[in-house]
Subunit: 182 residues, 2 copies
Amino acid sequence: MEVLSPTAYVILGMVRGEPRSGYEIKAMVDETTRFFWAASYGQIYPELKRLSEAGLLAGVDSPTGGRKRTVYEITADGEEELKAWLRQPPQTYEMREEGLLKLFFADALPREEAVEIVRSMRAHRLAANAQLRAMEPFAAEKDDPFPLLVLRGGLEFTEWFADWCRRMEEQILAAVPEKRSS
Amino acid sequence: MEVLSPTAYVILGMVRGEPRSGYEIKAMVDETTRFFWAASYGQIYPELKRLSEAGLLAGVDSPTGGRKRTVYEITADGEEELKAWLRQPPQTYEMREEGLLKLFFADALPREEAVEIVRSMRAHRLAANAQLRAMEPFAAEKDDPFPLLVLRGGLEFTEWFADWCRRMEEQILAAVPEKRSS
DNA sequence: ACAGGCATGTAAATAGTTACATGATTCG
DNA sequence: CGAATCATGTAACTATTTACATGCCTGT
């Protein structure tokens, strides 16, 4: 069994339980996992084809009205592949946080400009928090408890991060001495 | 002024203050920003060439003993470019956290296996915390306060995350009911 | 009639990692 | 002398985003 691309598993997971089209998978990803695992059409459609060829998914024609449409359902092999992956310890722990990089180099700016960095970061996290907040009722009414658990983790994380930014703002202005020549 | 690649700025930031070789930049990144902004040789060396051609860096031969070596120092234009970038609000806020994706789909596993996911995540964050802890004294003795500030943010983040995992472990075992057919 | 959403896909560009190749120097 | 580290680089691969193209259906 060859190794699948990272995006393959988000697809397998999304169609488990109920068959979905590429378009629906993309929409679900954007509503749910995008904060920690994104996927674009450019990945999803080719991957659906590969997974079907590998026998892990099966495409079923299922037009809505006259509009043609293919939904993909997971096969027994696909379900096994998904579970085997779920049992492996996670490998990917990546963060690309431009704000932290800027803050790391912020000594190059005068303090009043340096605090702008943490203000931007804070605004971003508060906006993300509000988005998650708006999704919470929908996740809460579902049968599967894990998406809600993860969403509440996101809520807590964005709150922690926003608060850290607030404290850093104070700290930079209060305690960090200005450099002689920046 | 054309837009630079994302990696360009980490290089500009790393050579500001004192000139460094590609090898040293890579080592610094691995010691400091890698938790939120990584870079590989395959990005660094070609980028050093491009930045020199663009006049934002200047390469200076500076062999150590008989071993040839080029360090790059930032030019006035490079300094301006770096500061202009620092003044822009951060654009990139990405996370790719395989553990959260697995947890999101964990309903496919029995509960005893689902908790293994948060246990792995917790172990990972505790290990990261220990690494940051070991770096703290070195950051603390530097003149520039921002790297230390960012590092302490990382310390707090990994602690929060590890604690969240611990609480999720309890919660999954205690409150989340087992499904009829998983 | 037109806007907006549903639906599928691809091409091109950009980003990034991994592995490899090469060779010098330093330290034990 | 051999291992580790310093040092520079490239090729191949993998991953991912963005933009574009197409066209149908539904509601106003």
